[in-house]
Symmetry: C2
Subunit: 214 residues, 2 copies
Amino acid sequence: MALAHKGLTQDDSTIEYVPCSFTEKDKIAFANYDRYPLLQDGETIVADSWAIAEYLEDAYPEAPSLFGGARGPTEFLNAWADSALHPTMIKPILGDVFEHILPKDRDFFRQSRTERFGRPFEELAAEWADDKDALVAELRRALNPVRTMLRSRDWICGPDGPAYGDYIVFGAFQWARSISPTALLDESDPVYAWRGRMGDLFDGYAETTTMYPL
Amino acid sequence: MALAHKGLTQDDSTIEYVPCSFTEKDKIAFANYDRYPLLQDGETIVADSWAIAEYLEDAYPEAPSLFGGARGPTEFLNAWADSALHPTMIKPILGDVFEHILPKDRDFFRQSRTERFGRPFEELAAEWADDKDALVAELRRALNPVRTMLRSRDWICGPDGPAYGDYIVFGAFQWARSISPTALLDESDPVYAWRGRMGDLFDGYAETTTMYPL
Protein backbone atom coordinates (compact mmCIF):
# COMPACT_ATOMS: atom_id res chain seq x y z
CA MET A 1 0.00 0.00 0.00
CA ALA A 2 2.90 2.34 0.74
CA LEU A 3 4.38 1.57 -2.68
CA ALA A 4 1.03 2.27 -4.31
CA HIS A 5 0.69 5.52 -2.33
CA LYS A 6 4.05 6.58 -3.75
CA GLY A 7 2.86 5.73 -7.26
CA LEU A 8 5.42 2.97 -7.60
CA THR A 9 2.99 0.19 -8.52
CA GLN A 10 1.65 1.74 -11.71
CA ASP A 11 4.17 -0.15 -13.79
CA ASP A 12 4.11 -3.59 -12.21
CA SER A 13 7.02 -4.77 -14.34
CA THR A 14 9.37 -2.70 -12.19
CA ILE A 15 8.41 -4.50 -8.98
CA GLU A 16 8.98 -8.09 -8.03
CA TYR A 17 7.07 -9.41 -5.03
CA VAL A 18 8.70 -12.40 -3.34
CA PRO A 19 6.43 -14.29 -0.93
CA CYS A 20 8.48 -15.77 1.91
CA SER A 21 7.39 -18.37 4.41
CA PHE A 22 8.58 -18.34 8.02
CA THR A 23 11.56 -20.61 7.48
CA GLU A 24 12.61 -19.55 4.00
CA LYS A 25 15.40 -17.41 5.40
CA ASP A 26 17.56 -18.25 2.39
CA LYS A 27 15.44 -15.84 0.34
CA ILE A 28 16.69 -12.90 2.41
CA ALA A 29 20.12 -14.20 3.32
CA PHE A 30 21.58 -11.78 0.74
CA ALA A 31 20.46 -8.95 3.01
CA ASN A 32 22.21 -10.39 6.04
CA TYR A 33 18.84 -10.17 7.81
CA ASP A 34 16.36 -12.77 9.04
CA ARG A 35 12.99 -11.09 9.36
CA TYR A 36 10.31 -9.73 6.99
CA PRO A 37 9.39 -7.45 5.39
CA LEU A 38 12.44 -6.47 3.41
CA LEU A 39 12.73 -3.99 0.56
CA GLN A 40 15.44 -3.95 -2.07
CA ASP A 41 15.54 -0.84 -4.26
CA GLY A 42 18.55 -0.88 -6.56
CA GLU A 43 21.57 -1.20 -4.29
CA THR A 44 19.61 -0.25 -1.18
CA ILE A 45 18.26 -2.85 1.24
CA VAL A 46 15.86 -1.80 3.99
CA ALA A 47 14.35 -4.06 6.65
CA ASP A 48 11.36 -3.46 8.94
CA SER A 49 8.03 -1.89 7.89
CA TRP A 50 8.62 1.47 9.51
CA ALA A 51 12.16 1.80 8.18
CA ILE A 52 10.82 0.94 4.71
CA ALA A 53 8.17 3.66 5.04
CA GLU A 54 10.82 6.20 6.05
CA TYR A 55 13.04 5.11 3.17
CA LEU A 56 10.21 5.46 0.62
CA GLU A 57 9.35 8.90 1.98
CA ASP A 58 12.95 10.11 1.72
CA ALA A 59 13.81 8.39 -1.56
CA TYR A 60 10.63 9.55 -3.33
CA PRO A 61 10.02 13.02 -1.91
CA GLU A 62 8.14 14.23 -5.01
CA ALA A 63 5.47 11.53 -4.65
CA PRO A 64 2.55 12.02 -2.20
CA SER A 65 3.78 12.03 1.40
CA LEU A 66 3.18 8.93 3.51
CA PHE A 67 3.29 11.06 6.65
CA GLY A 68 1.42 14.20 5.64
CA GLY A 69 4.43 16.21 6.69
CA ALA A 70 4.68 14.97 10.29
CA ARG A 71 6.68 11.79 10.71
CA GLY A 72 6.61 11.80 14.52
CA PRO A 73 2.88 11.42 15.17
CA THR A 74 2.63 8.77 12.44
CA GLU A 75 5.45 6.89 14.13
CA PHE A 76 3.36 6.89 17.29
CA LEU A 77 0.48 5.39 15.32
CA ASN A 78 2.89 2.74 14.04
CA ALA A 79 4.08 2.01 17.58
CA TRP A 80 0.47 1.73 18.72
CA ALA A 81 -0.22 -0.80 15.97
CA ASP A 82 2.85 -2.82 17.01
CA SER A 83 2.34 -2.74 20.75
CA ALA A 84 -1.45 -2.50 21.20
CA LEU A 85 -3.19 -3.64 18.00
CA HIS A 86 -1.20 -6.66 16.79
CA PRO A 87 -0.89 -8.36 20.21
CA THR A 88 -4.67 -7.98 20.70
CA MET A 89 -5.60 -9.09 17.20
CA ILE A 90 -3.60 -12.30 17.26
CA LYS A 91 -5.31 -13.72 20.34
CA PRO A 92 -8.67 -14.83 18.91
CA ILE A 93 -7.06 -16.23 15.75
CA LEU A 94 -3.73 -17.67 16.93
CA GLY A 95 -4.82 -21.24 16.20
CA ASP A 96 -5.87 -20.23 12.68
CA VAL A 97 -2.36 -19.05 11.88
CA PHE A 98 -1.06 -22.54 12.56
CA GLU A 99 -3.69 -24.05 10.23
CA HIS A 100 -2.64 -21.80 7.35
CA ILE A 101 1.14 -21.84 7.35
CA LEU A 102 3.20 -24.26 5.32
CA PRO A 103 3.64 -27.66 7.01
CA LYS A 104 7.42 -27.20 6.88
CA ASP A 105 7.07 -24.02 8.99
CA ARG A 106 5.00 -25.53 11.80
CA ASP A 107 7.82 -26.64 14.07
CA PHE A 108 9.45 -23.23 13.80
CA PHE A 109 6.17 -21.46 14.46
CA ARG A 110 5.24 -23.63 17.43
CA GLN A 111 8.63 -23.21 19.06
CA SER A 112 9.10 -19.47 18.41
CA ARG A 113 5.58 -18.64 19.64
CA THR A 114 6.00 -20.79 22.73
CA GLU A 115 9.09 -18.72 23.50
CA ARG A 116 7.41 -15.40 22.72
CA PHE A 117 4.32 -16.06 24.83
CA GLY A 118 6.10 -18.01 27.57
CA ARG A 119 3.58 -20.84 27.41
CA PRO A 120 3.16 -24.01 25.31
CA PHE A 121 1.70 -22.89 21.99
CA GLU A 122 -1.07 -25.52 21.75
CA GLU A 123 -2.22 -24.80 25.30
CA LEU A 124 -2.43 -21.05 24.65
CA ALA A 125 -4.09 -21.42 21.23
CA ALA A 126 -6.74 -23.72 22.72
CA GLU A 127 -7.39 -21.38 25.64
CA TRP A 128 -7.73 -18.35 23.37
CA ALA A 129 -9.96 -20.27 20.94
CA ASP A 130 -12.30 -21.12 23.83
CA ASP A 131 -12.33 -17.44 24.79
CA LYS A 132 -12.75 -16.18 21.23
CA ASP A 133 -15.86 -14.04 21.70
CA ALA A 134 -14.36 -12.14 24.64
CA LEU A 135 -11.07 -11.68 22.79
CA VAL A 136 -12.83 -10.30 19.71
CA ALA A 137 -14.64 -7.89 22.03
CA GLU A 138 -11.27 -6.89 23.53
CA LEU A 139 -9.91 -6.22 20.04
CA ARG A 140 -12.93 -4.06 19.22
CA ARG A 141 -12.32 -2.01 22.38
CA ALA A 142 -8.63 -1.67 21.51
CA LEU A 143 -9.71 -0.10 18.21
CA ASN A 144 -11.39 2.81 20.00
CA PRO A 145 -8.76 5.41 19.01
CA VAL A 146 -9.18 4.44 15.35
CA ARG A 147 -12.96 4.35 15.65
CA THR A 148 -12.99 7.84 17.15
CA MET A 149 -11.25 9.14 14.02
CA LEU A 150 -13.51 7.25 11.63
CA ARG A 151 -16.74 8.48 13.19
CA SER A 152 -16.12 11.91 11.70
CA ARG A 153 -14.02 11.24 8.62
CA ASP A 154 -13.11 8.65 6.00
CA TRP A 155 -9.45 8.00 6.86
CA ILE A 156 -7.49 7.56 10.06
CA CYS A 157 -4.79 10.00 9.01
CA GLY A 158 -6.97 12.85 7.91
CA PRO A 159 -9.99 14.06 6.03
CA ASP A 160 -8.28 14.37 2.65
CA GLY A 161 -7.05 10.84 2.08
CA PRO A 162 -5.30 7.84 3.57
CA ALA A 163 -1.64 7.82 4.58
CA TYR A 164 0.80 5.48 6.25
CA GLY A 165 -1.17 5.25 9.50
CA ASP A 166 -4.11 3.90 7.51
CA TYR A 167 -1.94 1.34 5.74
CA ILE A 168 -0.28 0.02 8.87
CA VAL A 169 -3.64 -0.58 10.60
CA PHE A 170 -5.15 -1.99 7.42
CA GLY A 171 -2.17 -4.31 7.09
CA ALA A 172 -3.08 -5.94 10.40
CA PHE A 173 -6.59 -6.65 9.11
CA GLN A 174 -5.25 -8.01 5.82
CA TRP A 175 -3.00 -10.35 7.74
CA ALA A 176 -5.93 -11.57 9.85
CA ARG A 177 -8.16 -12.05 6.82
CA SER A 178 -5.44 -14.05 5.10
CA ILE A 179 -5.40 -16.70 7.79
CA SER A 180 -8.78 -16.62 9.53
CA PRO A 181 -12.47 -16.50 8.55
CA THR A 182 -13.28 -14.94 11.95
CA ALA A 183 -15.39 -11.78 11.68
CA LEU A 184 -13.27 -9.34 13.68
CA LEU A 185 -15.53 -6.35 13.06
CA ASP A 186 -19.27 -5.81 13.22
CA GLU A 187 -20.77 -4.51 9.97
CA SER A 188 -22.15 -1.46 11.77
CA ASP A 189 -18.64 -0.47 12.95
CA PRO A 190 -17.13 2.62 11.24
CA VAL A 191 -13.89 0.61 11.17
CA TYR A 192 -15.66 -2.00 9.01
CA ALA A 193 -16.68 0.62 6.43
CA TRP A 194 -13.17 2.12 6.48
CA ARG A 195 -11.69 -1.32 5.82
CA GLY A 196 -13.91 -1.59 2.77
CA ARG A 197 -12.73 1.83 1.52
CA MET A 198 -9.13 0.73 2.01
CA GLY A 199 -9.80 -2.34 -0.12
CA ASP A 200 -11.11 -0.11 -2.92
CA LEU A 201 -7.97 2.08 -3.03
CA PHE A 202 -5.64 1.97 -6.02
CA ASP A 203 -8.17 0.07 -8.16
CA GLY A 204 -8.70 -2.61 -5.52
CA TYR A 205 -4.98 -3.26 -5.11
CA ALA A 206 -5.38 -4.89 -1.69
CA GLU A 207 -8.06 -7.29 -2.94
CA THR A 208 -5.61 -9.04 -5.27
CA THR A 209 -4.36 -11.03 -2.26
CA THR A 210 -6.00 -14.38 -1.51
CA MET A 211 -8.15 -13.88 1.57
CA TYR A 212 -11.34 -15.03 3.27
CA PRO A 213 -14.50 -13.15 2.20
CA LEU A 214 -15.53 -10.31 4.50
CA MET B 1 1.32 23.99 27.32
CA ALA B 2 -0.32 24.57 23.93
CA LEU B 3 -0.55 28.29 24.69
CA ALA B 4 3.13 28.33 25.66
CA HIS B 5 4.03 26.40 22.48
CA LYS B 6 2.29 29.12 20.49
CA GLY B 7 4.25 31.78 22.38
CA LEU B 8 1.10 33.19 23.94
CA THR B 9 2.24 32.98 27.56
CA GLN B 10 5.24 35.28 27.29
CA ASP B 11 3.17 38.23 28.41
CA ASP B 12 1.15 36.76 31.24
CA SER B 13 -0.90 39.91 31.61
CA THR B 14 -2.75 39.01 28.44
CA ILE B 15 -3.98 35.70 29.83
CA GLU B 16 -6.34 35.06 32.68
CA TYR B 17 -6.53 31.51 34.01
CA VAL B 18 -9.77 30.67 35.79
CA PRO B 19 -9.66 27.51 37.93
CA CYS B 20 -13.06 25.82 37.96
CA SER B 21 -14.26 23.07 40.24
CA PHE B 22 -16.63 20.35 39.08
CA THR B 23 -19.82 22.10 40.08
CA GLU B 24 -18.88 25.69 39.37
CA LYS B 25 -20.78 25.63 36.12
CA ASP B 26 -21.75 29.28 36.60
CA LYS B 27 -18.19 30.22 35.61
CA ILE B 28 -18.75 28.91 32.11
CA ALA B 29 -22.46 29.54 31.79
CA PHE B 30 -21.61 32.52 29.54
CA ALA B 31 -20.36 30.00 27.00
CA ASN B 32 -23.57 27.97 27.06
CA TYR B 33 -21.42 24.94 27.82
CA ASP B 34 -21.00 22.75 30.88
CA ARG B 35 -17.62 21.02 30.60
CA TYR B 36 -13.95 22.02 30.83
CA PRO B 37 -11.59 23.11 29.42
CA LEU B 38 -12.91 26.21 27.74
CA LEU B 39 -10.99 28.92 25.92
CA GLN B 40 -12.18 32.46 25.34
CA ASP B 41 -10.09 34.50 22.91
CA GLY B 42 -11.67 37.86 22.20
CA GLU B 43 -15.15 37.11 20.93
CA THR B 44 -14.36 33.47 20.22
CA ILE B 45 -15.30 30.68 22.65
CA VAL B 46 -13.96 27.17 22.10
CA ALA B 47 -14.71 24.11 24.24
CA ASP B 48 -12.87 20.75 24.40
CA SER B 49 -9.08 20.29 24.45
CA TRP B 50 -8.75 19.10 20.87
CA ALA B 51 -11.00 21.81 19.47
CA ILE B 52 -8.93 24.36 21.42
CA ALA B 53 -5.73 22.97 19.91
CA GLU B 54 -7.20 23.20 16.41
CA TYR B 55 -8.38 26.73 17.09
CA LEU B 56 -4.94 27.85 18.32
CA GLU B 57 -3.29 26.25 15.30
CA ASP B 58 -5.62 28.04 12.88
CA ALA B 59 -5.78 31.36 14.72
CA TYR B 60 -2.00 31.63 15.20
CA PRO B 61 -0.57 30.08 12.05
CA GLU B 62 2.68 32.08 12.25
CA ALA B 63 3.60 30.58 15.64
CA PRO B 64 5.24 27.13 15.86
CA SER B 65 2.84 24.41 14.70
CA LEU B 66 1.18 22.24 17.34
CA PHE B 67 0.79 19.47 14.79
CA GLY B 68 4.03 19.62 12.84
CA GLY B 69 1.96 19.96 9.69
CA ALA B 70 -0.02 16.73 10.14
CA ARG B 71 -3.22 17.22 12.08
CA GLY B 72 -4.64 13.77 11.35
CA PRO B 73 -2.01 11.58 13.01
CA THR B 74 -1.88 13.93 16.01
CA GLU B 75 -5.65 13.61 16.31
CA PHE B 76 -5.15 9.85 16.52
CA LEU B 77 -2.68 10.37 19.35
CA ASN B 78 -5.27 12.56 21.07
CA ALA B 79 -7.93 9.87 20.60
CA TRP B 80 -5.55 7.28 22.03
CA ALA B 81 -5.02 9.46 25.11
CA ASP B 82 -8.79 9.84 25.54
CA SER B 83 -9.78 6.23 24.98
CA ALA B 84 -6.75 4.21 26.14
CA LEU B 85 -4.58 6.34 28.44
CA HIS B 86 -7.04 8.27 30.62
CA PRO B 87 -9.33 5.30 31.40
CA THR B 88 -6.28 3.24 32.41
CA MET B 89 -4.65 6.00 34.42
CA ILE B 90 -7.68 6.79 36.54
CA LYS B 91 -8.07 3.27 37.92
CA PRO B 92 -5.23 3.11 40.48
CA ILE B 93 -5.95 6.65 41.72
CA LEU B 94 -9.72 7.01 41.54
CA GLY B 95 -10.07 7.17 45.30
CA ASP B 96 -7.42 9.89 45.46
CA VAL B 97 -9.48 12.15 43.21
CA PHE B 98 -12.29 12.06 45.71
CA GLU B 99 -9.92 13.01 48.54
CA HIS B 100 -8.69 16.09 46.66
CA ILE B 101 -11.79 17.71 45.27
CA LEU B 102 -13.73 20.41 47.03
CA PRO B 103 -16.19 19.08 49.59
CA LYS B 104 -19.01 20.81 47.76
CA ASP B 105 -18.18 18.78 44.63
CA ARG B 106 -18.24 15.35 46.25
CA ASP B 107 -21.88 14.50 45.73
CA PHE B 108 -21.64 15.48 42.09
CA PHE B 109 -18.45 13.46 41.63
CA ARG B 110 -19.80 10.37 43.39
CA GLN B 111 -23.01 10.37 41.38
CA SER B 112 -21.53 11.18 37.96
CA ARG B 113 -18.79 8.55 38.32
CA THR B 114 -21.25 5.94 39.53
CA GLU B 115 -23.19 6.59 36.33
CA ARG B 116 -20.09 6.58 34.14
CA PHE B 117 -18.66 3.33 35.50
CA GLY B 118 -22.01 1.63 36.06
CA ARG B 119 -21.11 0.66 39.62
CA PRO B 120 -21.30 2.36 43.03
CA PHE B 121 -18.36 4.75 43.22
CA GLU B 122 -17.14 3.74 46.70
CA GLU B 123 -17.24 0.05 45.81
CA LEU B 124 -15.24 0.57 42.63
CA ALA B 125 -12.70 2.93 44.24
CA ALA B 126 -12.09 0.42 47.06
CA GLU B 127 -11.68 -2.48 44.65
CA TRP B 128 -9.24 -0.54 42.47
CA ALA B 129 -7.30 0.68 45.52
CA ASP B 130 -6.87 -2.94 46.63
CA ASP B 131 -5.65 -3.80 43.15
CA LYS B 132 -3.40 -0.75 42.83
CA ASP B 133 -0.12 -2.51 41.98
CA ALA B 134 -1.68 -4.50 39.15
CA LEU B 135 -3.45 -1.41 37.82
CA VAL B 136 -0.22 0.61 37.83
CA ALA B 137 1.39 -2.25 35.90
CA GLU B 138 -1.52 -2.14 33.44
CA LEU B 139 -0.99 1.59 32.96
CA ARG B 140 2.71 1.07 32.31
CA ARG B 141 1.86 -1.52 29.64
CA ALA B 142 -0.67 0.84 28.09
CA LEU B 143 2.16 3.37 27.70
CA ASN B 144 4.07 1.04 25.37
CA PRO B 145 3.44 3.07 22.21
CA VAL B 146 4.77 6.19 23.94
CA ARG B 147 7.71 4.29 25.42
CA THR B 148 8.66 2.95 22.00
CA MET B 149 9.03 6.52 20.75
CA LEU B 150 10.96 7.71 23.77
CA ARG B 151 13.53 4.91 23.60
CA SER B 152 15.06 6.55 20.55
CA ARG B 153 14.24 10.23 20.92
CA ASP B 154 13.39 12.96 23.39
CA TRP B 155 9.82 13.76 22.40
CA ILE B 156 6.78 11.73 21.45
CA CYS B 157 6.01 13.85 18.41
CA GLY B 158 9.45 13.92 16.88
CA PRO B 159 13.16 14.31 17.30
CA ASP B 160 13.22 18.09 17.01
CA GLY B 161 10.93 19.11 19.83
CA PRO B 162 7.64 18.50 21.58
CA ALA B 163 4.26 19.16 20.01
CA TYR B 164 0.62 18.71 20.86
CA GLY B 165 0.87 14.92 21.22
CA ASP B 166 3.46 15.45 23.95
CA TYR B 167 1.28 17.97 25.74
CA ILE B 168 -1.86 15.86 25.73
CA VAL B 169 -0.05 12.85 27.23
CA PHE B 170 1.83 15.06 29.70
CA GLY B 171 -1.48 16.63 30.71
CA ALA B 172 -2.72 13.24 31.89
CA PHE B 173 0.34 12.90 34.14
CA GLN B 174 -0.05 16.45 35.46
CA TRP B 175 -3.64 15.66 36.36
CA ALA B 176 -2.59 12.49 38.19
CA ARG B 177 0.19 14.26 40.04
CA SER B 178 -2.21 16.98 41.14
CA ILE B 179 -4.42 14.55 43.01
CA SER B 180 -2.28 11.54 43.91
CA PRO B 181 1.16 10.83 45.40
CA THR B 182 1.16 7.42 43.65
CA ALA B 183 4.34 6.77 41.63
CA LEU B 184 2.86 5.89 38.26
CA LEU B 185 6.25 5.49 36.55
CA ASP B 186 9.45 3.75 37.47
CA GLU B 187 12.50 6.04 37.47
CA SER B 188 14.24 3.84 34.90
CA ASP B 189 11.34 4.27 32.45
CA PRO B 190 12.10 6.47 29.41
CA VAL B 191 8.63 7.93 29.99
CA TYR B 192 9.78 9.12 33.43
CA ALA B 193 12.73 11.01 31.94
CA TRP B 194 10.49 12.48 29.25
CA ARG B 195 8.05 13.71 31.90
CA GLY B 196 10.95 15.51 33.56
CA ARG B 197 11.92 17.15 30.26
CA MET B 198 8.33 18.25 29.78
CA GLY B 199 8.38 19.88 33.20
CA ASP B 200 11.46 21.86 32.19
CA LEU B 201 9.89 23.31 29.04
CA PHE B 202 9.11 27.01 28.81
CA ASP B 203 11.18 27.84 31.91
CA GLY B 204 9.45 25.22 34.04
CA TYR B 205 5.98 26.47 33.11
CA ALA B 206 4.28 23.20 34.09
CA GLU B 207 5.90 23.15 37.51
CA THR B 208 4.07 26.30 38.60
CA THR B 209 1.04 24.12 39.36
CA THR B 210 0.65 22.71 42.89
CA MET B 211 1.43 19.02 42.69
CA TYR B 212 2.89 16.10 44.61
CA PRO B 213 6.67 15.74 44.33
CA LEU B 214 7.83 13.23 41.71
